[in-house]
Symmetry: C2
Subunit: 375 residues, 2 copies
């Protein structure tokens, strides 16, 4: 049996609670299959690491992440380590992304089940059928360009950041979007988002996306949208952008969060941050990609410790981990199926298996139990 090393970073707030259920799910699929074995090990990361050792990303945690086949994270941060704090959890996350070269952030926003339509802030007829995958460049742009803080010479009265992209950076993220688009049958359409009518970095973005797709993936359909217009369409008519939304770091931060409220609860959605294009796990040429997997929700300090957080985003992140970093498509699909069944069980038997974010009374653990039972 193949053996994989998975580093777990439970983090802060509800992080440890939701991660616990995802670990149980991973342990179950591994027990059910003779083909592979998972070695799970937890490490401190984020606010809890600041409290324990004074820094969000301790050397030992970074080293474990670098050696792991994949990383599963809960959530980090909280009011205790706010924007004004000296050492902040997010800095650990940004360093981890950069050091591991996790340039491709993948965030699906779709309705896992039509039974959830009533939880969307959009009218059901507008939300229905929304099926977006945001592919966000994660280690370039204004996040990592040169910057100058206020009160620093020269010009202490000014502060600035640089939105910068190179041809190579845009090419590689475009290829990730193309691979994801091609993995679907029929292939997905790619919607590239920029602000090319104003920004030089966006003009480069648009040109390189066009050239890369035309040259290397002539079979794929794609178009370009300005970011302001895309922000309107995502609310007014999200199906119009169904397929892959390909964009740079800062726009992706905004648009992926905006998209993620359509399916009704942030608690449902997973994400992956990869160091390379995900290849098809069912192909003999599958090449694993190191990656960090986490739910998109935050650490939700208001409900931390109460055992009522929705574990589904983390459990679906674990499914993505199996698929993209370990090449294990079968157990990934099995988990996704169980989640869908668990969500639909309310309609079926009136079980009301919903956590508080979806208007229910179930505990984090009860969701975990049900999903495991259905595996």
């Amino acid at each position: 049996a193949k053996s994989f090393r998975v580093v777990v970073l439970p983090g802060d707030g509800i992080g440890p609670e939701v991660v616990e259920q995802a670990i149980r799910v991973l342990e179950t699929v591994s027990e059910l299959s003779p083909d592979f074995e998972l070695k799970l090990e937890s490490h401190p990361f984020g606010g809890c690491a600041i409290d324990a050792v004074g820094e969000p990303l301790p050397e030992s945690t970074l080293k474990a992440c670098q050696e792991a086949d994949a990383i599963l994270m809960g959530s980090i941060g909280g009011p205790k380590w706010g924007v004004d704090a000296k050492v902040r959890p997010e800095v650990g996350l940004l360093t981890l992304r950069k050091t591991l070269g996790l340039y491709a952030n993948i965030r699906p926003a779709n309705l896992a089940s039509d039974s959830l339509l009533n939880y969307s802030p959009l009218r059901p007829e507008i939300a229905k059928g929304t099926d977006l995958i945001v592919i966000r460049e994660l280690i370039g742009g204004a996040y990592f360009g040169k910057r100058k803080e206020q009160n620093v010479e020269p010009n202490p009265e000014e502060a600035w950041d640089t939105m910068i992209y190179s041809v190579a950076e845009v090419e590689r993220i475009t290829r990730v979007a193309a691979q994801i688009a091609l993995a679907a049958n029929p292939p997905l359409e790619i919607h590239s988002i920029d602000k090319a009518n104003v920004l030089a970095s966006s003009r480069l973005w648009r040109k390189v996306v066009t050239e890369t797709l035309t040259r290397e993936y002539p079979q794929l359909k794609f178009d370009h949208h300005l970011v302001d217009s895309a922000a309107m369409v995502i609310v007014a008519n999200p199906r119009k952008l169904n397929g892959v939304i390909l964009t740079e770091n800062l726009f992706g931060d905004i648009l992926s969060d905006q998209s993620s409220v359509i399916p009704g609860s942030l608690g449902l959605l997973p994400s992956a941050s990869l160091a390379g294009a995900p290849s098809d796990p069912s192909s003999p040429n599958f090449r694993p990609t190191s990656g960090l997997y986490e739910p998109i929700h935050g650490s939700a300090p208001d409900i931390a410790g109460k055992g009522i957080a929705n574990p589904i985003g983390t459990i679906l992140s674990a499914a993505m981990l199996l698929r993209y970093s370990l090449g294990l498509e079968k157990p990934a699909k099995a988990i996704e199926e169980s989640v869908r069944k668990a969500l639909d069980s309310e309609d079926a038997g009136g079980l009301g298996l919903r956590t508080a974010d979806l208007g229910g009374k179930s505990s984090t653990k009860e969701l975990g139990d049900k999903i495991i039972e259905l595996l």
Copy 2:
């Protein structure tokens, strides 16, 4: 009688059609009042100016704008002058903003009438009561920072833009937000939006907003939100941000467009771009502010020339023009009242006075007629 010079820039696409109705409305309020007189003059601007004289902002148009008491614009651009074109209409707009020092963009997003709730893409119970005013800094940030295009030395493979803000730039836009907040009774809450957990320019933004408001407007309530989180809240629960949304140029571009789909049709919403803080027209110390007023919709080439565009956004922009640049509060209010009545007339008498964007069959001119009749 006081005489005011108003420059009109009809622009492209549906611009001339909607501007025509706003001019009729302005002429009517001016005829109805012995206190003031409006001198209206049209100038070429945008795509039509490119076609006529090879540039979007001819010298004579700029000069007229500089000498005017206020400017009313339709809309500019279209597929004919796309992102790849040598000379683009938007460049004229950016130059006009910068040259006239129009640093404060004001964009209300509210439901002019509850009878429109059914046109919002949001569930009625979520859209109801939404009352946002986005105040966007308009001549700083990445729009006007130093930039480098691709294929330029050094590093032809890279392109970049600079998001830059100075203390003075943030102070003055904060004061505009404070004035707008104080003009309401009770004063509005201010929600400042940035990305201070990542960007240096946002850290300056947050610090200066906090200091300016605390020092100069201690009576006002304010808070800070990260832009990604704000983009979620605007969809999930927009009332939470009711009041003034204060933000920098690029974030404001995205968030104001996103907000503007909540009220059901872009065709309804006005905007103002001002060179100074708007003072209270009812106060004896009123100081006029030069400004550019325009509907937020684009040139909609698909329906141009058909006479079916919604003129309300432009008519409400004309009302803002009277208020902020001419200090004429009474006719401004009168116009806003007539628009509200015209929109509600469907419920009242089944007139179906709606343009196509709101599911109706009325023409642009019919809307204009009705609003003038109600004045």
